[in-house]
């Protein structure tokens, strides 16, 4: 059994489990699923700076912070005790495309060419960590949610604004990958 769990999980298994998070949160405490809101609660709790957007009773939304601490803990447990003993597999076409951009490490879930601690104070770090992170935080709040709040929770509740947001996420991702990223990789 444990050997089976250690294998990479099929998309259908992950999809069902993520989908079930929606009714689980609703039924155990009338909570609407959404992860990026946690970033807003962190701002409201730590540096509200008299900004109206952060002046609310974040303690009522403490559940959301417990949830994301759980996600962090889950990441730790899965990586420490349930990690895949086999080689990490990336689609061969993706490998070919990314090699052309200069990626050399395909051995782990995140390429060390980019996502290593040594890169934090480099141009790569500025683009992939700082600017990328800023866009994730700013964009999700501007859009009123992320993949969880819009694409999963919103679409589950048949919300048209969530469909519009989800399409925008995808268009943004395609545009970055195909139109902008080739230029970014030329910088290194």
């Amino acid at each position: 059994m444990i050997e089976l769990i250690k294998q990479p999980w099929h998309w259908a298994v992950a999809g069902v489990m993520i989908g079930l998070t929606v009714p689980t949160l609703l039924l155990i405490g009338n909570k609407t699923f959404g992860i990026s809101s946690s970033l807003r609660h962190i701002c409201a709790a730590c540096f509200p700076a008299d900004i109206q957007y952060f002046m609310y009773n974040w303690k009522k939304e403490l559940w959301n912070l417990f949830f994301v601490v759980g996600v962090l803990l889950g990441g730790f447990i899965a990586s420490q005790f349930l990690s895949n003993p086999n080689e990490f597999v990336v689609n061969e076409n993706t490998v070919k495309d990314l090699k052309a951009l200069g990626i050399t490490d395909f051995s782990a879930m995140m390429p060390s060419d980019i996502f290593s601690v040594e890169n934090i104070f480099t141009l790569k770090g500025l683009i992939f960590f700082v600017i990328g992170g800023l866009m994730v935080g700013f964009g999700t709040r501007y859009a009123g949610g992320c993949t969880s709040g819009h694409a999963i929770m919103g679409l589950s509740n048949l919300q048209l604004p969530s469909l519009i947001a989800t399409i925008s996420f995808m268009v943004g991702g395609f545009a970055m990958t195909h139109l902008i990223m080739p230029f970014i990789f030329k910088l290194f």
Binding site: H10, W11, A12, M17, I18, G19, T21, P23, L27, G29, N30, T32, F33, S36, L39, C43, I51, Y53, K60, E61, V68, G70, V71, L72, L73, G74, G75, F76, I77, A78, S79, F88, D97, M109, M110, F115, G125, I127, F128, F129, V130, I131, G132, G133, M135, V136, G137, A143, G144, G145, S148, A151, S156, P161, I167, S168, V171, G172, M176, M181
Partner: protein, 164 residues
């Protein structure tokens, strides 16, 4: 003078996008059940390799069905669950009626959505996987996370100047 005072103290109506709609008060300890749900969620993220930058690249290059399968299945399961809850008026553990706020359209869903999409492709992470990546020991992602908090703060600071 008086007018500015009123403006300053006027509290914007709080619209949380992932709200707590439970009327009954909860103890601090009762929050641990969300920690457990989050932990399972984080394990799924790692085991299905959703936290991988490569899986996100495969998705945006249309070279793998994996992420489409994950998100598509999650939506179908979520949709069926929500419809069942509504149809049969299934109550929460505290005996309350489930309430899910409707989303209202504004242009932020397009502009913000595109900006998030750019960031998603670069970092290989939406907010959920950020936490799971850090938990998995990718320490550089703490910088991405801090930047995402800063981005959220910047949105709050400039919200009124942005087109919505």
């Amino acid at each position: 003078m008086i007018k500015t005072n009123i403006d300053k103290t006027a509290v914007e109506e709080f619209v949380c996008e992932a709200p707590n709609n439970q009327v009954k008060k909860e103890s601090l300890a009762s929050n641990f059940k969300y920690l457990i749900v989050g932990t399972i969620f984080g394990i799924v993220f790692v085991k299905a390799e959703i936290i991988s930058w490569f899986r996100i690249q495969e998705m945006f290059r249309l070279q793998s069905f994996h992420m489409y399968g994950v998100i598509g299945t999650a939506v179908v399961v979520g949709l069926i669950s929500v419809q069942l809850i509504k149809r049969f008026n299934i109550k929460t553990l505290a005996g309350e009626t489930v309430s899910i706020p409707n989303k209202t359209f504004d242009k932020g869903q397009i502009y913000g959505g595109l900006i998030f999409g750019f960031g998603w492709a670069i970092t290989g992470a939406c907010p959920g996987p950020l936490f799971a990546q850090i938990g998995s020991g990718f320490l550089a992602i703490t910088v991405t996370f801090a930047s995402a908090v800063a981005g959220t703060w910047l949105y709050g600071a400039f919200k009124n100047k942005l087109p919505h």
